[in-house]
């Protein structure tokens, strides 16, 4: 009994200090993320402190948008070269389903909050998959040009479908997810019923019919940088994108653009560890994850980019932007003022309906 306790305590200490059993861990790791400002924020908040603490070399790879396909190919080839991968929650679910990601025991493999709250409780509902460690909450929302909307700036998501009050082009993502939900909301479906309606073929037709009313005025984007560019060029009057992109457009580039915080869709981004790593690399990856997803580190990332930390305990620690010196809290999608009317993305629904609705959406789009 005593021996077991000693073992547990010592291994816990070893894990906590990181370098005690460093001999059993790889001293180099490849972390895959989205590149750009996002990877920079992770470099500052996670990678650099971790490297300083452990002496591990961290290599950044900006392949997250193709992570699912590449991980599958690597797995088939039996040569996984990535150690930790940053993906959105839907992709994480897919990877978990395909057996390409490691299942995580959240309470033992992640740090507890400073006040002792277990990781499971601290992340709460955001633990949407057994393989996925949430990192940030982002939202897909609309930005509009303040100089093109006249005296009545839009406050309602349905402004997107209102061509009379807000004539001009708008940009939407070239996929059904989010657009179908917004279309139904603006077609009079109550927020709670959206997915029930969208389950039925009639509901899908209804959403597409609503989108059809603005089809000629839409520019479809596939890269997150498209909408900010289109807004800056005055090509569109409003457009959807990730809130962090709009933040940098508004605060860093000082464009006459404002955020439309209504029915923005919450989504999660976080880490997975690929399945099939060698024990040393897996141990290193787990050690990194333990460090990078603790309360302080998640709050630190918010200094560099306007995405909300996924832990409840991190929210009070969010401070000012590292360079601009402005308070970051009001720019977070999780801020109470911004989160008055939000929409929670239904992962289970889209995992089931993605193939079917995507086929219909693309067929509608191509016509």
């Amino acid at each position: 009994m005593k021996l077991t306790t000693t073992l547990v305590v010592s291994s816990a200490m070893a894990l906590a200090t990181g370098f005690a059993n460093a001999a059993d861990m790889a001293d180099e790791m490849t972390i895959v993320s989205w590149g750009g400002a996002y990877t920079d924020s992770q470099q500052n908040a996670y990678h650099t402190p971790y490297s300083e603490m452990t002496g591990v070399d961290i290599i950044n790879d900006a392949s997250s948008n193709e992570a699912v396909a590449k991980l599958r190919a690597m797995n088939e080839a039996g040569n996984v070269t990535w150690d930790v991968v940053d993906v959105v929650a839907a992709d994480a679910m897919r990877l978990c389903d395909e057996g390409l990601a490691l299942e995580i025991d959240f309470d033992t493999q992640l740090a507890a909050a400073p006040d002792g709250t277990s990781a499971t409780d601290d992340f709460g509902d955001l633990l949407v998959s057994d393989c996925f460690i949430p990192q940030i909450v982002y939202s897909t929302t609309f930005g509009y040009r303040t100089d093109m909307v006249g005296d009545t700036p839009p406050t309602d998501i349905c402004a997107v479908f209102d061509l009379e009050t807000y004539p001009g082009k708008r940009s939407l993502e070239k996929r059904p997810i989010n657009n179908m939900e917004w279309a139904l909301l603006c077609d009079g479906v109550a927020k709670a019923d959206v997915y029930d309606v969208l389950e039925t073929p009639e509901g899908q037709e209804r959403a597409l019919a609503k989108l059809d009313t603005i089809k000629d005025s839409v520019i479809w984007w596939s890269a997150g940088a498209d909408t900010p560019q289109l807004l800056a060029d005055e090509e569109v009057i409003m457009g959807s994108t990730y809130n962090g992109r709009l933040f940098s457009l508004i605060e860093e580039q000082n464009q006459p653009v404002a955020m439309l915080w209504d029915a923005q869709v919450y989504d999660l981004d976080g880490w997975i560890i690929p399945a099939g790593l060698s024990p040393e690399r897996e141990a290193r990856a787990l050690d990194y994850i333990m460090f990078a997803t603790d309360t302080q580190r998640l709050a630190d990332q918010a200094k560099y980019i306007s995405y909300g930390p996924a832990r409840a305990s991190s929210a009070p620690l969010v401070g000012k932007h590292a360079e601009l010196g402005i308070d970051m809290a009001p720019h977070m999608p999780t801020d109470p003022n911004n989160a008055k009317n939000t929409f929670l993305y239904n992962y289970e629904f889209w995992a089931d309906y993605r193939d079917d609705i995507d086929a219909k959406f693309q067929a509608w789009l191509a016509k």
């Binding site: 699912v68 396909a69 389903d97 395909e98 479809w220 309906y353 219909k360 067929a363 789009l365």
Partner: protein
């Protein structure tokens, strides 16, 4: 007389028949030649042919159902999917048995994703069932039919069983059928619902737009190639750099440049508005549609047309044209009857290059294509990298490959492939 003396085989100096000796010498030569090309041959085999073969194989391979649910598939063999009745308890028991194994291997969710391409909802059906079945005891927890239906209503409905039955063989034509807007039904092949039909449209569009791009390249490239071929060497070299310069610029940069040029607040529209040719309110839409894709791709592929044309035209002696004119031909006749036929091999080579490059083009249509200017390759990319439906992606790719081979064959029949020249 001479017949009798010469009837034996001709002998070489060492006494072996000359024929055999020659064959041996040739064989050594051939082997040496083969050894010389071997590095390239092996490289091509490993990096090019093997992946293509593997991709073609994926478009029919469907082992996952049989491998994950072997007992269920066997038990289902006696069930009639058209009967309108659910399978019997034996099948459900077999399913419980199979799922138990699959969950331990984490294969059930893979199967769920696979079947979800055919039946919406299969993904969560298997994911949820896996979690529960894990805790079942196969010996004591039966009968399983009620248990499964209680677990998820999907198991009490016909579609999932029909889908498992239809997709139980090791090989399937399902992906190929899907790629041409058909599907496997209970009574054979049926058409997909109209609001899901997209691939046939995209194939037609890809062919049509590639054709238009090829023709635009010929129209624009021919005069340029002619000028290049007929100017003094020093000037033509200088102009050649102008042709090659965009060729050396990044594809993304050139595509994005077209965005800046063509968009509604772009250079061309601004100029037209400034000139008063169009009103500020009705600026032209020239991008995010077919027009934008054709313009950008014509520009990007133009060098592939000009270069082979140029090298063929360079070899046509100027004297032919002069001779034709001195014999009384007009400028047009001299060009059309004498010059043009000799330049056809260059057009052929350029057209094949441009056409084949453009039907497989992906990045430019993705950026400037909007919704009416996208190609089939954009859907292939989607299925490979996003939906992970590699079987369907492979089937679409295989069809595209087949179309190219068919067109190549047609070209050979009409123009003749010997008539294609990349130079000299």
């Amino acid at each position: 007389m001479s017949d009798t003396t010469n009837s034996g085989p001709v002998l070489a100096a060492d006494g072996t028949p000359l024929k055999r000796s020659l064959a041996r010498a040739l064989r050594t030569q051939k082997l040496r030649a083969l050894a010389l090309v071997a590095p390239l041959l092996i490289f091509v085999l490993i990096t090019f042919l093997a992946p293509i073969a593997d991709m073609l194989f994926r478009s029919v391979e469907n082992d996952i159902v049989r491998k994950t649910l072997p007992k269920t598939v066997a038990a289902l063999s006696t069930w009639d999917p058209n009967s309108g009745e659910l399978p019997d308890e034996a099948v459900y028991a077999a399913l419980a048995d199979d799922l138990k194994v699959a969950v331990a291997e984490k294969d059930h969710t893979k199967l769920g994703s696979r079947l979800n391409y055919e039946l919406t909802g299969a993904s969560s059906l298997f994911r949820k069932s896996g979690r529960k079945v894990k805790k079942w005891d196969l010996e004591t927890d039966g009968p399983f039919k009620e248990k499964f239906i209680e677990l998820h209503e999907g198991w009490g409905e016909l579609p999932i069983w029909q889908t498992i039955k239809i997709y139980s063989p090791k090989y399937t034509s399902g992906y190929f059928l899907n790629a041409v807007d058909l599907k496997k039904g209970l009574d054979g092949i049926e058409s997909r619902p109209e609001n899901e039909q997209i691939y046939w449209l995209l194939f037609k569009r890809t062919m049509f737009m590639s054709m238009v791009i090829t023709i635009s390249c010929i129209m624009l490239g021919y005069p340029v190639a002619w000028i290049l071929a007929n100017l003094p060497m020093r000037t033509s070299n200088l102009l050649m750099i102008l042709v090659l310069l965009p060729f050396w610029t990044s594809l993304l940069v050139r595509t994005s440049a077209w965005k800046v040029m063509l968009q509604q607040q772009g250079v061309i529209n601004d100029t037209l508005v400034w000139l008063g040719l169009v009103g500020d309110a009705d600026r032209l839409t020239m991008i995010n549609n077919q027009f934008g894709t054709i313009v950008a791709m014509t520009h990007i592929l133009l060098p592939f047309m000009i270069l082979p044309m140029y090298s063929v035209m360079q070899t046509i002696p100027e004297t032919y044209l002069r001779a034709a004119k001195s014999l009384g031909a007009t400028n047009w006749t001299a060009f059309w009857r004498v010059y043009f036929p000799q330049s056809v091999p260059g057009i052929g080579a350029g057209s094949i290059l441009v056409f084949i490059l453009s039907i497989g083009y992906y990045i430019t249509p993705e950026i400037v294509g909007g919704n009416t200017g996208t190609f089939i390759s954009n859907r292939i990319a989607f299925h490979i990298s996003s939906s992970l439906n590699w079987g369907l992606g492979a089937a679409l790719g295989a069809i595209l490959l087949l179309v190219v081979l068919l067109l190549y064959w047609a070209y050979d029949q009409i123009v003749g492939i010997d008539n294609v020249k990349l130079g000299g």
